[in-house]
């Protein structure tokens, strides 16, 4: 049971940062930006490339995240702002297309194989009968710290107040003297940074391949939609639910039912669990479990 | 006695805690053009939305052509012959005026039959002075032209009752009298109209009867000419400004 909780939490940590970034940016720019998941991969790859160039790991990750933040802004200005003028659905297609172009770039730049940061890996130690590794604790802690920092920014600073103001009512925010373009740009930047950090955390715990973006896409969306797109911290809750569903489906032993000792559902059904949950949510609660401030038209 | 075409009984509509319609009952007979009036926020548009099925009612019943349509979906209501227009009609930009007009009547010659543009389309285009823009994208029309197109399109559906939401707002003065003519003609051929409108002149020209709403209740049901002399109507429209020193006539 404890193991189950830990597995769920760590899987949730995989998803949470990217899902929060997705939700945050959705609250201002009303389309689901699929490319955000690829930004996470960019973050991880750039971080690893920097490390290979001799940059110590902490500055490498930070530098990579800032870079991805910048890239996110560039893509937003050059591609998404223009496509959004046509239609949010067109912008969604554009972000899918951008994801493909980015994957192609990864393939040429980094090759098809999974890559890792070169960090010391130690075997797991047992805590409460549960195996955890140093890296898990470290990256899990960092994930929580980043989430808290983002929450503080959003709810405790004037800048955060402006962000929330723009997301609830951009017209009024402008009328209050808020430069909505600047705030939006900043949130896009932050979403890039957070997604990149999320990618780096993933890479620190395991490895990152060019397919990671594709593999993470739907679970991350499931988490964000479950939490109510646009509600940044609903996404954390969504991530936990998705993680629990995925963990549960692979931990159930169907052996006794079929008269054998151990029969598991293939773990590759785990993503199907999260997608099915997503579809079910959309069928019965089309706007997610926490209805966000964003009213959809 | 002719039977009522539309009968609304005890209609109520609440959004959250605020009651927009409290207890509204009225009816429309065939051949009538009924104006639905009232100051801003009196619930006219909401009434239209509930009757046409675009909003669910909170209480009350609506019958149309002898059928209970209180909970019917929009398309079923339209199929019975109640067709509406919108206050701010937005038109598609990848369909021409002619196509939109054609689309007003469904299943013309069968669902999957090729579209044929018969002479009746040209007649309507002429009547509404849209012939010169027939091949243009519908979204490129001016606000007034869109209004006219939406009325023309609704007429194409041969409705028994045509519900219009502020048909004259933004429509050029010279076209208003045309509109009156077209609508009269349509009613003369057996139709009926329910018109939400601000323009009193238009109402006076067109309507056979007026219903005035205020804060979700009917405060008058009379001939257009009687409006000015109805103290409740004057009060609802002019409010306390009168006491404050205005209206010194």
């Amino acid at each position: 049971m404890v193991q189950f909780i830990f597995d769920t939490l760590f899987r949730a940590a995989d998803l949470a940062l990217i899902a929060v970034a997705l939700s945050a940016v959705y609250s201002l720019i009303r389309f689901p930006n699929v490319a955000l998941v690829q930004y996470a991969v960019v973050g991880a790859f750039v971080g690893m490339a920097l490390q290979q160039q001799g940059v110590p790991i902490v500055p490498a990750v930070l530098l990579a995240s800032l870079l991805v933040g910048g890239i996110a802004q560039v893509f937003n200005a050059v591609i998404f702002q223009r496509l959004l003028r046509l239609d949010p659905a067109i912008a969604l297609i554009g972000s899918l297309a951008l994801s493909m172009v980015l994957s192609a770039g990864f393939l040429l730049g980094f090759g098809p194989a999974a890559q890792r940061f070169s960090v010391q890996v130690a075997p797991a130690t047992r805590v409460f009968g549960v195996r955890v590794t140093e890296m898990q604790v470290l990256t899990g802690g960092l994930t929580v710290a980043i989430l808290i920092a983002f929450a503080l920014l959003l709810f405790r600073t004037p800048l955060g107040r402006e962000m929330r103001a723009v997301s609830t009512n951009p017209v009024l925010a402008a009328a209050t003297g808020v430069n909505t373009a600047r705030v939006t740009g900043l949130v896009v930047f932050l979403s890039g940074v957070i997604a990149a950090l999320g990618g780096a955390m993933l890479a620190l715990r395991g490895s990152v391949s060019i397919d990671m973006g594709t593999n993470m896409l739907l679970p991350v969306f499931a988490a964000a939609i479950l939490g109510g797109l646009g509600n940044a911290f609903g996404a954390v809750f969504g991530a936990i639910v998705i993680a629990a569903a995925e963990t549960l489906i692979t931990n159930l032993n169907f052996g006794p039912i079929v008269g054998q000792d151990h029969v598991f559902l293939p773990a590759s059904y785990a993503p199907a669990a999260s997608f099915a949950l997503l579809v079910a949510v959309l069928l019965f609660r089309p706007r997610g479990i926490f209805v966000s401030e964003v009213t959809r038209v | 006695m002719t039977t009522e075409l539309l009968a609304v009984r005890g209609l109520a509509k609440a959004f959250g805690l605020s009651n927009v319609l409290e207890d509204v009952s009225f009816s429309v007979m065939p051949g009538e053009i009924v104006g639905l009036l009232g100051p801003n926020g009196s619930g006219k548009s909401t009434a239209l939305n509930v009757i046409s099925g675009f909003l669910p009612r909170s209480a009350g019943t609506i019958t149309f052509a002898g059928r209970d349509i209180s909970d019917a979906p929009v398309h079923a209501i339209t199929d019975l012959g109640l067709v509406r227009t919108f206050q701010l009609p937005s038109m598609p930009h990848r369909m021409t005026v002619r196509e939109v007009l054609k689309a007003g009547k469904r299943d013309d010659g069968g669902r999957f039959a090729p579209v044929a543009y018969g002479p009746e389309i040209d007649v309507l285009l002429q009547e509404f002075r849209l012939a010169h823009v027939a091949g243009h994208a519908a979204s490129a029309l001016s606000g007034g032209q869109k209004k006219l197109l939406s009325v023309a399109t609704a007429l194409r559906a041969n409705p028994k009752l045509l519900c219009l939401d502020e048909p004259t707002a933004g429509v050029h003065v010279s076209l208003r009298s045309d509109l009156v003519g077209v609508l009269r003609n349509y009613v003369a051929q057996g139709g009926a109209c329910l018109v939400v409108e601000h323009d009193m002149l238009f109402i006076r020209d067109l309507c056979t009867r007026c219903i005035v709403l205020d804060r979700g209740n009917i405060i008058a049901d009379c001939l257009p000419g009687e409006l000015e002399n109805n103290p409740r109507v004057v009060e609802a429209y002019l409010g306390k400004a009168i006491e404050k020193g205005g209206m010194a006539q």
Binding site: L96, A97, M100, A104, A272, V279 | S90, R94, A103, R106
Partner: protein, 296 residues
């Protein structure tokens, strides 16, 4: 040489059918389906399963039809209360769920190794079998085109276009939006499934890799490059994309590029074409003819 050309044209025809299907949904009705490949999959696995369990080949299209109708209805039902972008994500999920099940339901689908050895169409006509297949595909493409053209030029087609842009107006005029959506989804799904059956018997192999999400985006690229809501345009788009895809390896040979190039170039082509066209020419090479042939 000409065999290869026949091959590329044959596959282009199949993708042309798929592009028509997507165009019917996204182009004319505004249904942004990112799970089109699942509809195609109904056809592919319909043919595959029939072969795997030794049933008569003719049952393949029948099974495909049943699966496709169910898939179309389910996706339409899912779209009833969702906005366009949510529905897009939902369709993508459905396609991925279908692929995951195809990969893991080994007893039924043959799992990751797929189903191989499906009978090749016209294999008895060798050496003219390739040409015969091409002729069949071209005819079916033509039929699909006729169906689509007829549909969008009918009264029903006006309803589709109205729903695409002004659903409120469509409702006020009495169009039953849910029913039109379901009808379009079912027709499009069946068209895509026909393409799937043809492809299965052309490749003579059925596997979960056929259902990968990038395949859907390839078809999107075809529709966008050709001209969304233009039936001839999307067929042209299908041919253009297929030819580009097919000739990527030649470019690689010619310039002696590394082999990663092929995979990357294919991704880059579909993604880049979509992005480039959306940004620079969103109406595609052959824009929609607003008003059809009746307005000048």
């Amino acid at each position: 040489m000409s065999d290869f050309l026949i091959h590329v044209i044959s596959v282009s025809c199949i993708y042309g059918i798929l592009a028509l299907s997507l165009n019917l949904q996204a182009g004319f009705t505004g249904l942004m389906n990112f799970g089109l490949i699942a509809m195609f999959g109904c056809g592919v696995y319909g043919a595959g399963l029939v072969h795997r369990f030794g049933l008569p080949v003719a049952l393949g299209p029948a099974l495909a039809l049943i699966l496709a109708v169910l898939m179309g209805l389910f996706l339409a039902r899912l779209g009833r209360r969702l906005s366009t972008d949510y529905w897009g994500i939902a369709t993508l999920s459905i396609a991925e769920i279908a692929r995951i099940f195809a990969t893991n339901l080994e007893p039924l689908t043959g799992g990751a190794q797929g189903i191989s050895g499906l009978p090749l169409l016209f294999s008895g006509l060798r050496p003219w079998d390739g040409a015969a297949r091409l002729a069949l595909f071209a005819v079916i493409l033509g039929v699909a085109w006729l169906i689509c053209e007829r549909l969008v030029r009918s009264n029903f087609g006006l309803g589709m276009k109205l729903i695409r842009e002004e659903p409120q107006l469509a409702r006020a005029l009495g169009y039953d939006i849910d029913r039109i959506r379901s009808t379009v989804m079912v027709i499009a799904s069946v068209i895509a499934a026909v393409a799937g059956v043809l492809y299965a018997h052309y490749l003579s192999f059925v596997g979960p890799e056929l259902l990968l999400a990038p395949e859907t985006f390839l078809i999107w690229a075809m529709v966008i490059i050709g001209g969304i809501a233009n039936n001839r345009g999307v067929i042209a788009g299908a041919f253009a994309m297929q030819f580009m895809m097919a000739y990527v390896p030649f470019v690689k040979d010619y310039f002696a590029l590394p082999s990663d190039f092929v995979a990357a170039a294919r991704l880059m082509l579909s993604g880049g074409v979509i992005l480039g066209f959306l940004l620079l020419r969103p109406q595609g090479i052959f824009p929609e003819r607003v008003g059809g042939r009746h307005d000048h």
